[in-house]
């Protein structure tokens, strides 16, 4: 049997096994529940007529503009030529950010944009739930030994990585479809013709965002033989990296670049109006994913199983 077929088989098996395992059920349930709760958080004020869509567009444009400014301008704080906020305003960067916020909330369906922005923050914390047992579960129970005479270690790892990815992407598609169908029925201002292309664009952003975080989960799963330790390591590093970089940056500016150990520093650019920035951010996501996958492969190949 060729290697591609082996990888496909491992991917299918890991999907069916994930749905039967406790962690898989928890992952599916929590992802959908939290995703719908985030959408609910955004839609409720409109449905209860506490605020109109136009008012939400105004206030969220401002809030998203500030968030984007904080995320983007801090990225090049170290650059002397563009160090101050004033100089950045003179360079026209803030106008770009204003355009970016406008693009997200005025030119495209605002409710879907805000939901996806919130998902972009929450998904990295949920994705490890779907991948932490992928390798470590079998290693802990020594059942992986029964597979090794029939297949290679790299096929197992790549197949399981692919299976975890497909499961995560399926959940994201399900979530986006539910939100789009709901919005198109209940909110008259959000038409299906606007929602579908934007949902496709949002899916692409989340598609690329998923790759590094699932790969990180697989790396931790291949590194630690106890699944709970793998989960703790994945979630810990996902939360720890931004916290650590922001606090260390206060002490010494270059340490702020630790943020780029994970996609936190550039993931917001996946929804940028500029195509080359989106392509760049997607390429970084792929590279991050590839790096974690190669490290996981190296670790798994040498592991004493």
């Amino acid at each position: 049997m060729n290697k591609t077929r082996h990888i496909g088989l491992h991917a299918i098996k890991v999907i069916s096994h994930s749905m039967r395992s406790g962690s898989g059920v928890a992952f599916i349930f929590l992802t959908i529940l939290i995703g719908l709760s985030l959408a609910n958080l955004v839609v409720t004020p409109i449905e209860l007529e506490l605020i109109t869509v136009e008012e939400l567009q105004d206030s969220s444009a401002r809030a998203i503009g500030i968030a984007l400014a904080t995320a983007t301008l801090r990225a090049s704080d170290g650059d002397d030529n563009q160090g101050t906020l004033t100089s950045r305003m003179e360079n026209g960067d803030l106008i770009d950010l204003g355009m970016w916020a406008r693009y997200l909330v005025i030119e495209n369906p605002v409710l879907l944009s805000i939901t996806v922005l919130l998902l972009g923050v929450v998904l990295p914390l949920l994705l490890p739930l779907g991948s932490f047992t992928v390798i470590s579960g079998d290693v802990q129970h020594r059942t992986v030994r029964y597979l090794l005479p029939r297949t290679s270690r790299s096929s197992i790892l790549i197949g399981r990585w692919l299976g975890s990815m497909i499961l995560a992407w399926s959940l994201i598609i399900f979530l986006l479809c539910s939100v789009v169908i709901y919005l198109s029925i209940m909110i008259p201002s959000e038409s299906l013709e606007d929602l579908i292309p934007w949902a496709g664009r949002c899916f692409l952003a989340l598609f690329f965002l998923t790759i590094p975080y699932v790969s990180l989960g697989i790396l931790c799963s291949a590194t630690f033989s106890v699944p709970m330790v793998a989960l703790l390591a994945t979630v810990g590093s996902t939360i720890g990296v931004p916290l650590l970089s922001l606090s260390l940056q206060e002490a010494w500016e270059p340490l702020g670049n630790l943020l780029y150990l994970l996609p936190w520093g550039y993931s917001h650019e996946l929804l940028s109006p500029t195509t080359h920035k989106v392509v760049e951010a997607s390429a970084y996501c792929l590279l991050h994913g590839l790096l974690f996958l190669i490290l996981a492969l190296l670790k798994f190949r040498r592991a004493d199983l």
Binding site: S16, M19, R20, S21, G22, S23, G24, V25, A26, I28, F29, I32, L33, L36, S37, A39, N40, V43, T44, I46, E47, L48, S178, V179, Y182, M186
Partner: protein, 164 residues
């Protein structure tokens, strides 16, 4: 069958069933209390002076809701609670009737409680939008999908093991 032979997903589903049964059970108790209170309001009118429930009961009366409607909701909630709680035992034992079928009926009852609450209770009382109801409807659908697609064979195999 030993506990280790049971898929972890069934154990997780039984935990979820337990938490949903508790939340529906809580809502059921409040439905019965509300129906009793509504009966009092219908007999004696809304009490004068400061009363926390004034707005809520006025809203119920405006919507044309009767104590019987609330009692029906309560009975449905009670049925869902009991079925979900009993099906936990069925999940853990992988019993086809107690687990798969009682769980399915429990899921349907849970969905019916959500649908009837949307139809009968005042919109302001639901404290949220339709998407929160979609969220409530997710668990019953998820439960039925898991029982009839993912774990179907586990229940049937266990039934065969017991009969041989």
């Amino acid at each position: 069958m030993a506990a280790n032979d049971r898929p972890g997903g069934l154990t997780a589903l039984s935990v979820l069933n337990g938490s949903f049964a508790l939340s529906v059970g809580g809502a059921t108790i409040s439905r019965f209390l509300e129906s009793y209170k509504l009966m009092q309001v219908l007999e004696n009118g809304i009490p004068a002076g400061e009363w926390r429930g004034r707005y809520y009961y006025q809203k119920l009366l405006d919507e044309g809701l009767t104590p019987l409607d609330l009692q029906i909701l309560g009975v449905m909630g009670l049925t869902a609670t009991v079925l979900l709680l009993v099906s936990i035992w069925g999940f853990l034992k992988q019993n086809n009737v107690l687990g798969r079928w009682l769980g399915t009926i429990g899921g349907v009852a849970l969905a019916c409680v959500s649908v009837c609450s949307i139809l009968w209770l005042p919109q302001s009382y639901l404290k949220g939008s339709g998407i929160s109801i979609a969220r409530q409807m997710f668990y019953p659908l998820f439960l039925i999908f898991m029982l009839h697609v993912i774990f179907r064979r586990d229940f049937l195999n266990q039934q065969q093991d017991l009969s041989t």
